[in-house]
């Protein structure tokens, strides 16, 4: 090898090390709590990626948790009430959530900016109230207990979801990996540039012949599908669905994870934001003083926003470190996202 190009190899090595670490994590630790934290963070990261994708088109959805609820309830109702096996109903959950997202998007995305945020907020609350009041279908606040995925027999051993969280962990890795690949490719592709152009200057983009509504609806639908998967899987992992699990505060949480993690990277920011904030939340709630976790959580988010350079999140610290090590000049390749100016 005549020339070792560290600029391309070091990021790849770092990513490979990270992936290896996550793949062998169940061997390193057998703690159920650690695994649970990672599983939940991964699932939230999937939802956060959906939010970031919508944000890339310049819209600010405040009802993402509603799509998690839609996915979760679809999967649970299909398995419990209709007796459809787990895996088909899991797939149907994502598809149903995506279709609803598309229908909502077709109607709602005509109005942009803050109005879109408020409508999605109202939609999220409507889904929650609906789940709370439709006792016959959703069992109201008592919640549904979704059955666990069936045991998968393999030659030599069997994957038993009931025995330990390890199968859940690996399936989460699979789901998150597929989602990351999809979103990463979207970010690199022509579609991703189109989304960025919508955020940067919608009027100019429209005059260039880009159909605004079409691409906004595409982004919203893709986000809806994966958020639905995340919701279905999360409810299944926790073995309970109640309406309050996916309310306005969870939508807000998704939003915070996305912004704190950083929106310049579609995948990395989501994982960092979700893992950091979810872990913080879990560990703060163990503090002996009651209610201090909300105070510290809020303070942490505000401090991150205040002290990071504007327009960046935690994920951009990597780029900063990189430039510091290799003394590269500052360059801002990051697309300017979300011009949320109200016309």
């Amino acid at each position: 090898m005549p020339y070792f190009d560290y600029k391309t190899w070091i990021p790849r090595i770092v990513i490979a090390v990270l992936i290896t670490f996550f793949v062998i994590l169940p061997i390193l630790t057998t703690s159920v709590i650690t695994l649970s934290i990672f599983i939940s963070s991964g699932i939230w990261a999937i939802a956060v990626m959906g939010f970031t994708l919508i944000l890339r088109t310049g819209q600010f959805s405040m009802g993402q948790a509603a799509f998690m609820a839609l996915g979760a309830y679809t999967a649970a109702i299909l398995t419990v009430n209709l007796g459809i096996p787990f895996w088909p109903s899991f797939l149907i959950a994502g598809i149903v959530s995506g279709i609803i997202a598309m229908l909502i998007g077709l109607v709602v995305l005509r109005v942009g900016g803050i109005y879109f945020s408020i409508i999605t907020l109202a939609f999220g609350e409507i889904v929650r109230i609906f789940a709370q009041e439709m006792e016959g279908l959703t069992r109201g606040v008592r919640g549904i207990i979704p059955p666990q995925p069936p045991t998968i027999p393999l030659p030599g051993f069997e994957i038993n979801f009931a025995a330990s969280p390890v199968p859940y962990y690996y399936f989460m890795l699979l789901l998150a990996g597929v989602t990351s690949l999809v979103f990463w490719q979207i970010g690199r592709s022509r579609l991703g540039s189109t989304f960025a152009s919508l955020a940067l200057n919608p009027v100019l983009a429209e005059h260039q012949g880009i159909h605004l509504m079409k691409y906004r609806v595409i982004a919203f639908t893709i986000a809806g599908v994966f958020t639905g998967f995340a919701g279905a899987y999360y409810a299944n992992f926790l073995s309970i669905i109640t309406p309050l699990m996916f309310g306005l505060w969870q939508s807000i949480q998704i939003m915070m994870m996305s912004i704190v993690g950083g929106v310049s990277s579609m995948v990395g920011g989501a994982f960092i934001g979700a893992t950091v904030l979810y872990t913080l939340d879990i560990y703060l709630s163990r503090l002996p003083i009651y209610n201090i976790q909300y105070l510290l959580f809020g303070a942490a988010v505000v401090l991150v926003l205040l002290f990071l350079p504007k327009g960046t999140g935690l994920v951009d610290l990597w780029g900063k470190l990189w430039r510091k090590i290799f003394r590269e000049p500052e360059e801002y390749e990051m697309p300017e996202e979300s011009e949320m100016a109200v016309e």
């Binding site: 803050i114 409508i119 912004i259 009651y290 209610n291 809020g298 300017e336 949320m340």
Partner: protein, 287 residues
């Protein structure tokens, strides 16, 4: 026709939503951001009034003024140290939204730690009811209505008859031109944020005897006043008042007929209004 008590209740609720929405719109028209933690200033105001009355024995009207001053000052601090530093062109809306949403958790956690999670009653203030034949109204609710009329009248006078009101209106219309004429838009932002938070705090304070005081009491008024300014038209003070009245009355009247589904109907109504008229009822047309 629902009974008069329901209408009175609707009127009381619309008074609160109006006062809060008014402050929010004022902040929006100068700073260009929505303060999502407005409901928490409402909650803090209620706590200040509660402790001013029970611990210090200050009379009710005076303690409302005190809560307005204390929480208004807090709002100014939030503006100076958080919002102003995050409100940069291009990213402002996004960052301020997330920061103020985080402040919701911060203030609720702080209030829960300092004051406890128990619901606190303040029913001993202004006891008694006004008997109006077929129905009666408690003095506490009358106090809310009178307070709202006084505060809106005062705001009208401040905005239209004083120098600072002129500065606020100028800065809302044309910030650049206003600063050319010697108006410090920064200072106007600070004052407006103080006024907005003080309005929310005083609304919470006057509402404290009617309902109970708890760290989570700010969430519902926050969401409803947010919806009120959106359907009224963002940036329009008339819209804030009309939106507050619509939501307050509908909330109690619909609840009378369909009980738990009232929020469902309200949110649906908001969506329909926004789809038919995206700029809100009183907002200027976007195009």
């Amino acid at each position: 026709m629902p009974p008069a008590a329901i209408l009175i209740d609707g009127l009381v609720q619309s008074c609160i939503f109006m006062t809060m929405a008014f402050g929010m719109v004022l902040v929006f028209s100068i700073l260009g951001i929505l303060n999502w933690a407005h409901g928490q200033f409402y909650m803090l105001g209620a706590f200040v009034v509660y402790y001013a009355i029970t611990a210090a024995g200050i009379p009710f009207p005076l303690s409302i003024l005190i809560s307005g001053m204390v929480v208004g000052g807090l709002g100014m601090l939030v503006e100076k140290y958080i919002i102003e530093r995050l409100n940069i062109p291009g990213y402002g809306m996004l960052y301020v939204t997330v920061a103020t949403l985080a402040l919701i958790f911060f203030f609720e956690g702080a209030a829960g730690m300092a004051f406890g999670l128990m619901d606190k009653g303040l029913a001993t203030v202004l006891p008694g009811v006004l008997d109006l034949g077929s129905f009666s109204v408690s003095y506490q609710k009358i106090a809310v209505i009178i307070f709202t009329i006084v505060i809106l009248a005062a705001m009208y006078i401040v905005l239209n008859r004083t120098k600072i009101g002129l500065a606020i209106r100028a800065a809302a219309q044309e910030p650049v031109a206003a600063s050319l004429y010697g108006i410090s838009v920064k200072r106007v932002s600070l004052i407006v944020m103080g006024i907005g938070c003080a309005l929310a705090a005083m609304a919470g304070g006057v509402m404290a005897p009617v309902y109970t005081v708890s760290p989570f009491m700010g969430r519902i008024p926050m969401i409803f006043s947010m919806l009120a300014i959106i359907i009224g038209g963002l940036g329009s003070l008339t819209g804030a008042i009309v939106g507050g009245i619509i939501l307050g009355f509908l909330n109690s009247v619909i609840a009378y007929y369909v009980s738990y589904l009232s929020e469902f109907v309200l949110f649906l109504l908001v969506i329909v209004i926004l789809l038919v008229r995206p700029q809100g009822l009183f907002g200027a047309s976007i195009k």
